[in-house]
Structure formats: structure tokens, C-alpha cells
Amino acid sequence: MGKETPFTKREFKSVGTRPVRPDGIDKVTGRARYGADFDMPGQLVGLILRSPHAHASIKSIDTSKAEALPGVKSVITSKDFKDISKTDTELAEILENCMARKKVYYDGHAVAAVAAVDAKTARAALKLINVEYKLLKHVTDVDLAVANKAPVINRNCKTAGVDPAPTKASNISRRSEFGHGDVDKGFKKADVIIERNFRTEQSHQGYIEPHACVASVSPDGNGELWVCTQGHFVFRQQCAQMLGMDVAKLRVTSSEIGGGFGGKTHIWLEPVALALSRKANRPVKLVMTREEVFRASGPTSATSIDIKIGVTNDGIITAGEAELRYTSGPWGGSWAMLGAMTAFACYELENVKTVGLEVLVNRPKTTAYRAPSAPMAAFAVESMIDELAKKIGMDAVEMRIKNAAKEGTQSSYGPVYGPIGIGPTLEAAKNHPHMKAPLGENQGRGMACGFWFNFGGQSCTNLNIGIDGTATLTVGTIDVGGARASLSLVVAEELGIPYDKVKAVIGDTGSLGYNEMTDGSRGTFASSMSAIKSCRIAIEDMCARAAQIWDIPVDKVIWQDGHAHATGKNNNAPLSIAEIAATAEKTGGPIAGHAQIVADGAGVSFATHICDVEVDPETGSTRVVRYTVIQDAGKAVHPTYVEGQFQGGAAQGIGWALNEEYIYGEDGRLQNPGFLDYRIPVCSDLPMIDTQILEIPNPNHPYGIRGVGETSIVPPLAAIGNAVSNATGVRMTHVPMSPPRILDALEKHSEASDEEPAL
């Protein structure tokens, strides 16, 4: 598709403006309907019974008492799903996560579910289900899980990516390796080498809206699902396969989504709701509690990263090497792989080697979280770069500029880069007033860079022109935070009509072809590419209609400024879309443009963040006092919402850096499954977050758009780590840098300096 609609430099009229979003008014008046805001006639209330154990085999489940309770309409266990483990391993694991089969693998793992006439009856029914467990040894820590005596979580797990293939089961599901050159040779050329271990704790996407859905399945095999999701087409496909339904017969409608950040790209309760509904032959509404959200959905990996970087005295990185261990929950994933690919992606390295190990632990299945896996790897690399710069006495920005990747650089994950924005974001940071602002007592400034791939993928759009010349764009990608505004701007631009004459809607799965999810920063990138194609098809048709109206050959008609123009010597006044549409019934019927594409060629994205923190030496509490995000957007379609993405990602990174973590007890149970103890940043924790949008066009998109959603969560962990280090003189290697960890580091530091002989 990129090649069909190549990038052309142009002056924009609509794109780049900042109108009010079309779905905004429903959201400020309480009218917008989210996952839990929808009911079906006669619906039942569903509830899920969850394992209190981190690791156990299920000896038996007795549901008879629950079934006998008046008002209970269906009770299900894994027996109500067909065993698909022989036919589709990956899907079987997703299903096993939604409903445990023979074993429970984490505290919160679903074991049974009920649907009853009301919540009270459903709660009573859950208590009547008797599950007999045989407890097994568990492991939740990433490094303990790879240690020799760790309990093996899955006896079928043999490490993939190792040659020859191992015969013994272990908790490492996959090893992946990237890099080029010869790191040993590279380290020999280095004047200074630092080696360290970095750890990051598991965080949750923390969307404010818990997972929710309403499912209705009829005995004839038709079904409907209303759900908050980042990808209703993907949910349909997976749910239909799990339930043995025809894909076409399951119609999925996406609700407004109350935050996802990757956490709503995976199914959790939807197949359960569908199975409950099928058994009861009644609609079933299933809504997670906040505790369930924390215990059973979402989280990102906990990591442990061993890293070694060497530099010359004049600041050239000669080699970088890292082993990155990422938890993936009870089943394998590709999280460490992404960490291994992204770790050194900001830099031009002659010698680089990264190894990613996916580690199974008794925690919830790891899920994508905004630029998944990149922030942890960046924490390690960017902390080291700062430390190395300090050691050789070079400015940290200068050293990054010196080593920054550019067009033609071979990336650390393999291919060469096209035009990219790391250098420009660094130059912008260097020249930013923030860099020169004075610092107060106990304050320190830090900066860090970040990289993310961005994706494209399958997209499908419909454009329909109304008889009054207004346009409806139907897209199949979920709007997570302003996409309807940006896509309306693109259609307005392409058709040459005002923004408020375009209505963008999210179609259900019955209205469009398959669309991939809103993930990988692809929503605006991919759907706009398809929308532009839809518009151009409709324009071609409208030129033909104009030719009919004027009764001239179609090659005498051109499209300009939202009008058909007749060329050559004739006096036909240009025709507007409204004028052409008004005669549609006589010139061939409705005017529409349907496009389906694979939107490949998403441009990679880079950001540089600067932050100032103040560390209280008495309490170890850290406050972010100033924060600046500089990121390449390719082309900012709606700059205000681009800024919003930058600010939101930074805020999530700040929370992760300073407070957020899953805390497991010795018993393997999650100890902080609520917003009180899993503390995300509140309004009074943060300063204003300044943004600077750079626009280095993506040559693979007609308007130069890159994705913008994810990269901004990559730098904050390291930026804050570096700022804390500059404020206190202590290198922080463990995220979150919560007050106890900072106090501990400060104490160790002062003990160490007490022991040193005085100069």
C-alpha cells in the first residue's frame, strides 16, 4: 500500500489543525457507553471463581451445589470448552489462561464461572463451588525461576531457539539472539567497560475501566458480543475458534474503551461469558472487579538484565552486550525477544549482541504494555550510557549524539535504517531551554532516549458520501484516544471538505473486513492509509460522475480543492461533492470508497526525554519537578492528541519508575491488587509535561505519518534513574525507585564512602 500511495510533500489544510474531537461531547456528558454501560434484555450476571493458589493441580471441581441454587442458570468449568491443545497450541494457552484445565498457574487464575439472575445469587453460587487442589511448589521471581532448583512450571517446556534442542524441561521457554560484529573484539578496543545487573518489577497497564462484556449466544450458533477491546476482529476470531462457532456468526461490537495500553489486546473473560450464555441460552454480562484486573489480567514482564558496554575515552561505544530475562507468566511469550531487539536500537554499534530469555513464572500471563519490553531494556542501556559518559568525563547528550543511529546505520536488531529521528531528538534536547535551567537543592537532571518499532498490518475502511456531500468513514480499528478526530481530519484533507462534514465511526465486525487491533501505534498510521485509499477511490468515481453530468469524457475531469474541474475549453463551473452527490441516483447510485490494505512500512520512532527530580534524603521520596518529551511523529495529524500521547506515556513511565510494582508474598499471592497499594501517579504527583513534536516524514505513508502512541513510555525509567543518580550520586539499578529502595541505596552509598580512606 505504501507504494500505491507514496509520500508526497504537500501543504496541509486540515491535517495539523486542532479541532474538538467528535466523540468528545458524549464523554463529557456521561452519554458515552463503555464496556459495563450496556445491557441486553433478560441478561444474567456472570462471576468467575479464581484460584487462591500460585501453583496447584486441580484434583476435582464439584459444581453441583451451585447448579442447584435457585436463580443460577449456568455453571461452567474447562469441561465446557473443547480441548484444542492438540490442534492449536497458542490458542489453547490463551484459553487455558481464561479457564484453567488441569492446573492453576497463578493467584487469580480462573477455575469456574457462574451466571445467575442477579449478583447476589451469583456470589452465593461461587461459594458453593468446591475445588480440591493439590498444592505445588511455585516460583514468582525471574532469577529464581531460572536457578537450578526452581520448580519446573510446565513439564513440556523445552527451550526453543537452542541448537541442539534441549531434552530436559526448564522455565526458559525461548532463547533469542540478535546482533552483529564481534563483541569480544569490541571490548578489547574499549578504554572503559562497565558491567551491571538491572532489575525492573512487574507493572500493570492500569487502565481505569475494568474488563467488561455482554455476551449472547443462541442455540442456532449465532452470537453477539459487546466488549471493551483494542481489537474486536481479533476477539471475534479467537472466541469463535474457542467456542467452535463460525466466525461470521459471531458479531462483535466494540464499546468505547476506557484505556487499554496493550492490556485489552488479549481476551480474558469473553470466551467465559460466551460459554455461560450458550449454556444458559440467555445473555450474560461479565465485569471484572479491580482486584480481578490486577490478579488476572494485564501485567508486563518483571525483568533482570545483565549488561556490559565498552567505550573509548573519546566516547565511541565499541561493544554492547546484554542478556535479558523477562517473565512471561506461565506460558511462553516473545517479551524478552522484543527487549533484545530494542535494547541498543538507538545507537550505531559495530559490535553488539543481545540474548533474550523468556522465563516462566507463577504470575499472570504477560501482556503487551505500550512499547512492550522496550522500557526495561532502555532502563539498562540508557543508565549505563550516562554512567559511562560520567566516567570518561563527557557530556551525556554529546556522547549519545556521537553514537546515535542515523539513515544507513545497521540497527542492533538487523536491518539498516531509513530516515530516522534519534539524532534530531537529541539535538533538540541539547538546545532545549530545559537543559540549561538551574537546579535546586537535592535536585538532579537526567535524560534518556527510547525506540519503538510501530506496526501497520491489515486494515479495512468504508467511505460513504451522503446526498448532502458529507462523508461517513467507517473504520475497524478501535479509537483509544482521538483516532476519530485524526481520521476525520485525514478524510477532510483528502476530499477537500470541512472537518465537521466528516463523521468517523467504528464499525462492528459485521460491517467491515478484518482489521488488526489498535496496537503497535498502528491505529492512525494504518487506518489513515486505508482511509486515504477509500477517499481516492471515491474521488475517482466522483470524477466519472462529473463527466456524466457534464457529458464530457472522463479524462477531461480533474479533482482539485474538493471539486471536480472540467479541463480544456469549456465553461463548466466546478462541481462540489454536494453537487455531485445530489445527482448520485442518476449517475450510478451511492458514492462510496471501499479499501482493504496491508499497511506495511510503519516508520520506526524515537524519543528523547529530559527530567528533573528532587529526592528527599530523609524519606527517599522522589518528586518529578520538570519533564520534557521530544519525539518524532512523522506528521502530527492532530497535534494536541499527539502531545497527549507523549504526556500519557511519560506519566505511565514515571509511575513505573517511582512507585508501581506487583508485590508477591512468600505464598505466591499478589499482595497489592488495588489502586491504594498499587499506586499510579495522581494529579498532585506530576508537573506539567512539556512536549516538542518533531516531524521527520515517514516515506512509506502518503502524509508521512508514523505511529506515536508507544515510544513515550520507553525513556522515562532511565531518564528518572539518571536524574536520581545526578541528584544523589547513587546509581539506581532497580525499578521502581520507591522510597525504601532509594533510602537503602543512599545508606549503602554512605557506608561505602565512610569506609573509604579520607583523601
Binding site: 486542532r18 474538538v20 474531537r21 466523540d23 468528545g24 461531547i25 464523554k27 463529557v28 456528558t29 456521561g30 452519554r31 458515552a32 457507553r33 463503555y34 459495563a36 454501560d37 447476589k120 497497564q205 492500569g206 487502565y207 481505569i208 475501566e209 475494568p210 468505547e256 474503551i257 476506557g258 484505556g259 487499554g260 495500553f261 472487579t289 479491580r290 483509544v480 484516544g481 482521538g482 494536541t640 492528541y641 502531545e643 497527549g644 504526556q647 500519557g648 511519560a650 506519566a651 505511565q652 488495588g674 489502586f675 491504594l676 499510579i680 501517579p681 495522581v682 494529579c683 498532585s684 504527583d685 506530576l686 506539567m688 509535561i689
Partner: protein, 157 residues
């Protein structure tokens, strides 16, 4: 055993029935279809269910439906005056102070209470007044700016 509760909601006399152990949040959402009041946690930590009860800002998930007997409730659904949006609603739109929008009703109600008490709050006062409302999308920057702008407009009016 359901009980009958008589209240005034957004200026209208409203009766609803609810169980003795039912929260006001559940009663508003499930009995009266007032789904503008959101549930993010059910434990008073996120503020998505913020409403006012006799003018005081509360998390409706921490109040029993029965406690609303004889009292006056205001929610996001009652903020605009006919076709005219409340300045806070308008400024939230103009400043893009919402992304996903699930926290927006709670923020609007909390900000309205703040501006009624303090028409000219500092940035810091705004941040502390809204610290009981969680937003995961925006980083709060544009929310604070929207409240500042709305306050300025309301002072001029």
C-alpha cells in the same frame, strides 16, 4: 429485601428501590441507568464514580443507596444547562483533557466542586483537589490546563 429511597437527582425528585447492602453507585447505574457515573475500582481509590451528595464530593461506591434518602445528588448528567455545556465540559473538549474519557465524569464533578469553593485556584490547589481522581491516559497536564481555563472563564462571567 429491597427498600424504597426518595432523593433529588440533578434537580429532579427521583425514587429508586435498592437492597440494604447496595452501593449508591450500583443503584445509580443499575436501577436508574445513570451510566455516566463510572466504576473503576469500587473501593474509593479512583474517583471515577464521583458525585455530590448535598453538595459534598463523594465516591458513590463508598455510599450506600439507602444513605441517599432525602438527600440531593448531582452527577455529570446534570452538569450542562440544556444545550449549553458547563464551562468545564467545554474546556475539557477544547483542551483535549480526555483521551479514553472513562475518568472524565469524575474529574468534571470534582473540578466543579473545587471551583465552587475556590474560583481562582493555583495549579497546586487544582492538583491536590483532583488527586482523588485517577487518569491513566493524559498525565493530567491538559486536565489541569482545562480547569485553569474554565476557572478563568467562569470568573469573567
Amino acid at each position: 429485601m429491597a427498600m424504597l429511597v426518595s432523593t433529588t437527582i440533578n434537580g429532579d425528585a427521583t425514587d429508586f428501590s435498592c437492597e440494604a447492602d447496595e452501593t449508591l453507585l450500583d443503584a445509580l447505574r443499575n436501577r436508574l441507568s445513570m451510566t455516566g457515573v463510572k466504576e473503576g475500582c469500587g473501593t474509593g481509590d479512583c474517583g471515577a464514580c464521583s458525585i455530590t451528595l448535598d453538595g459534598a464530593l463523594v465516591c458513590s461506591c463508598l455510599v450506600l443507596g439507602a444513605e441517599a434518602q432525602g438527600r440531593s445528588i448531582e452527577t455529570v448528567e446534570g452538569m450542562s444547562d440544556g444545550e449549553k455545556l458547563h464551562p468545564l465540559q467545554q474546556k475539557f473538549l477544547e483542551h483535549a483533557a480526555l483521551q479514553c474519557g472513562i475518568c472524565t465524569p469524575g474529574f468534571l464533578v470534582a473540578a466543579k466542586v473545587l471551583l465552587e469553593k475556590n474560583p481562582n485556584p493555583t495549579e497546586s490547589e487544582i492538583r491536590y483537589a483532583l488527586a482523588g481522581n485517577l487518569c491513566r491516559c493524559t498525565g493530567y497536564d491538559k486536565i489541569v490546563r482545562a480547569v485553569q481555563d474554565a476557572a478563568a472563564q467562569m470568573r469573567r462571567a
